[in-house]
Amino acid sequence: MSTVDKTNLMPTKGAIRIEDVVKIYDPEGTAVMAVDHCSIDIPAGEICMIVGPSGCGKTTLLNTIAGFHGLTSGHIYLDDEILCGPGKEKAEPGSDRIVVFQNGALFPWKTNLENIAFGPMMEGKLSKGEIYQKARKMMVDAGLEGTEDAYPGEVSSGLRRRVEIVRALMNEPKVLLFDEPYRALDSLTKSVMHEALLEIYYKNKVTIFFITHDLEEAIFLGHRLIIMSSRPCKPKKIVEVDIPHPRDYSVLTSPRFREIMNEAKSVVNEEARKAFEAGEKEG
């Protein structure tokens, strides 16, 4: 008997289209332009890595997709359905787009299991028993067995990030929005998290919009890198990572990985320098 290898099958739902998006903070006052006529097309099931200098506007872009704030002009579509655009400045936050935050946003007063069950409990489609059963199973699958009744503050930061991803997946989102989730982790934990994330991704294909500063992380995980310009942010260069999935850590030493790294590095460094110089002028 043969099992179907699903690792390269893509889902049909979850394409994100960002069209000409502009975001200006405080337009009547200081008017900080964070995003400038930015267009990105992300096919369903792609891992799209967003790389760019500090303060360029990456989080701003993610927040407009999530619906945490509005945009100034432009459109964002999810599967040809408009999330926000003229006449609807702010997208409605919803369980089809779940954010995994930079500093983590697990509820400290709920146990890991209760955190993971939170989304479905709010949706109210399943009974409590069914939800907890599903949550337990997801935790076992993600190697979180035994931490169900611990509070997030009682487990390591690596495990916490994993709990948070499982919590996100429980909502069966079409898109996962990551805002530098592994920034605070040491490199050893990080590499474990990367492989765990890919493993989870191969089992539950969703579109991933992933912000990072770390080029190695970006190339290891992503189908594509979108390198952003310094503020206001817009795509400066798109790098295809033509290393086939599924990947493991051996690709880090492959010659192709080095080539892509060098290609990306020169662009990123140039933008980082611009951002730094702009910062010096302002300061």
């Binding site: 619906g67 936050p93 946003a105 509070y151």
Partner: protein, 272 residues
């Protein structure tokens, strides 16, 4: 040897040290207070205080006296009434100020003007305003805890990590869910802290208010504060100290109860 044994050894030793310190303190006090008889010279300050043995003696007489326990009961009742009302009024007020900007704009300035007025400054006004003496004491006691609780709840609810709210919203939580499942539990630690501080202030205030407002008819219903005051007026210095220690014990019992209760409401904090 395992870690738990080490830990319990350690806390045993800490308790032992505490006990030794108390014994030494009492010994010095006893010696100082009897210094005139013992060495023919009155040690300054301590020499004027009744010795612990005399205090104990007086206390032994009091524990069988129902009016002494009546004082305990009166003070406890006032503290808990004032404190409970402060919680019942203060927590919703703080939360509502935190979530409703309009209400915050209306209520906060008045609140901030009233807050610096010490509760004891309210004593004369509340004696005039409230029909009974009991109510005026209860009111002043209430004020003692009220401001602290409101300020803590407000601060706690306002400083909630915004990402908790965003995460909950993304996962489909309604406004009511967000209030009940995010804002309330996220504010609980501040509520517990505010209550603990408020409880301390309540004891300070109740004792002072009882001293100022007198004992009422017969003096039996005056509480621990009045107990100290009437001991002073009656010249029984041993009883003053009995009263002081009683308040210390009463305050400790209240705080300990509150800590236990608070810990039960915020189980996720105990591992930090």
């Amino acid at each position: 040897m395992n870690i738990n044994k080490l830990k319990s050894n350690f806390s045993m030793r800490a308790a032992f040290r505490g006990l030794i310190a108390i014994i030494i303190f009492i010994a010095i006090w006893e010696f100082g207070a009897r210094s005139l008889d013992l060495i023919g010279y009155r040690v300054p300050f301590i020499g004027l205080i009744p010795p612990p043995t005399a205090v104990l003696d007086s206390w032994a007489g009091l524990v069988v006296d129902p009016s002494y326990w009546q004082s305990w009961y009166m003070s406890f009742m006032r503290v808990f009434t004032g404190f409970l009302v402060a919680m019942v009024v203060g927590i919703p007020l703080g939360l509502y100020m935190a979530v409703n900007r309009t209400f915050y704009g209306i209520a906060f300035p008045s609140f901030e003007i009233l807050r610096p007025i010490p509760p004891l400054a309210w004593v004369p006004a509340s004696i005039i305003f409230w029909p009974t003496q009991e109510m005026s004491i209860a009111f002043v006691t209430f004020l003692g805890a009220f401001y602290t609780i409101v300020i803590n709840v407000l601060g706690g609810a306002k400083s909630i990590n915004r990402q908790y709210l965003q995460a909950a919203q993304s996962m489909g939580a309604s406004q009511a869910d967000i209030f009940r499942r995010i804002i309330l539990p996220a504010t609980l630690p501040s509520i517990v802290v505010g209550s603990a501080v408020g409880m301390g202030i309540t004891w300070e205030v109740v004792v002072a208010a009882e001293m100022i407002s007198g004992g009422g008819s017969g003096g039996a219903g005056g509480g621990l504060g009045f107990f100290i005051w009437s001991s002073y007026v009656g010249g029984s210095y041993e009883q003053i100290i009995v009263g002081m220690i009683s308040i210390g014990i009463a305050g400790y019992i209240s705080s300990e109860l509150l800590r236990k209760l608070g810990g039960r409401f915020t189980p996720w904090l105990k591992t930090r």
